[in-house]
C-alpha cells in the first residue's frame, strides 16, 4: 500500500530506528512499510499516525481509493 510514512518521518526528524522504538516494532518493519511491501495492522497504523501527526487516511493510500 502506498503511504507517506517516509516523508512524514523525515519531516519529523526521526530515524527509522527511533520511529520503530516509538511504535514498538522492529526497524525492518518500518523499512517494509515505507517501501510499501508490508501493510500494517490497524493498531500499528493508528500508532504511526499518532506519532507522525496525521490521520490514518492521510498517511495510507490504498490503491482502490486513490
Amino acid at each position: 500500500m502506498r503511504n507517506d510514512v517516509r516523508t512524514l518521518r523525515q519531516a519529523s526528524g526521526l530515524t527509522q530506528e527511533e520511529l520503530a522504538a516509538k511504535v514498538g516494532v522492529s526497524r525492518q518493519t518500518i523499512i517494509s512499510i515505507e517501501g510499501g511491501r508490508y501493510d500494517p495492522s490497524l493498531a500499528l497504523a493508528l500508532r504511526l499516525a499518532h506519532i507522525l501527526g496525521g490521520a490514518v487516511e492521510e498517511i495510507f493510500h490504498p490503491e482502490e481509493f486513490p
Partner: protein, 136 residues
C-alpha cells in the same frame, strides 16, 4: 512462543521450561528407546539449538518489546508455516504414490521417510521465512 506480537515474562518462562523438559526427555529416554547414538545426539542438538535461539531472541524481546517479535514477524512465521505445510502435503502425496508404484520400486524404511519429511518441513519453513523476509 510467537504470538500476536507480545511475549510476556510468564510465556517466556513456561516456553523455556517446556523446551528444557523436551531436552531432558531426549537425554533420559533416548538410550532406553534404543534410537541409536547418532540419531539421539542429532535430536538433542536440534532441540538445544532451538532452545538457545528462543532464549536469546526472547531475552532481547523482553528487554525491548516489539523489536524481535512484532506483527510483521508473526505474519511471516504464519506464511512460512503455511508454505511448509503444503510442501509436506505435496511430498507426502508424491512419496505415497512413488512408494506404491511397481515401476519405481523404491524401498525406503519408515524411519528414514519420517526423518526426511520432518527435515523437509523444517527446511521449507526456514527457506520460506528467509525468502519472505526479503520480499516483505
Amino acid at each position: 512462543m510467537i504470538t500476536k506480537g507480545k511475549l510476556t515474562k510468564r510465556m517466556f518462562l513456561w516456553t523455556n521450561i517446556l523446551l528444557a523438559a523436551l531436552f531432558a526427555n531426549v537425554l533420559l529416554f533416548a538410550p532406553a528407546l534404543r534410537m541409536g547414538g547418532a540419531f539421539s545426539a542429532g535430536l538433542a542438538t536440534g532441540i538445544a539449538v532451538g532452545w538457545l535461539i528462543f532464549f536469546v531472541a526472547g531475552s532481547r524481546e523482553l528487554r525491548k518489546p516489539g523489536r524481535t517479535f512484532d506483527e510483521r514477524t508473526v505474519a511471516l512465521a504464519g506464511r512460512a508455516a503455511s508454505f511448509a505445510f503444503w510442501v509436506m502435503i505435496l511430498a507426502l502425496a508424491l512419496t505415497t504414490a512413488l512408494l506404491r508404484s511397481e515401476i519405481f520400486s523404491i524401498a525406503i524404511g519408515a524411519q528414514e521417510l519420517a526423518g526426511l519429511l520432518m527435515n523437509l518441513g523444517v527446511v521449507a519453513w526456514v527457506a520460506a521465512w528467509a525468502l519472505l523476509s526479503r520480499l516483505r
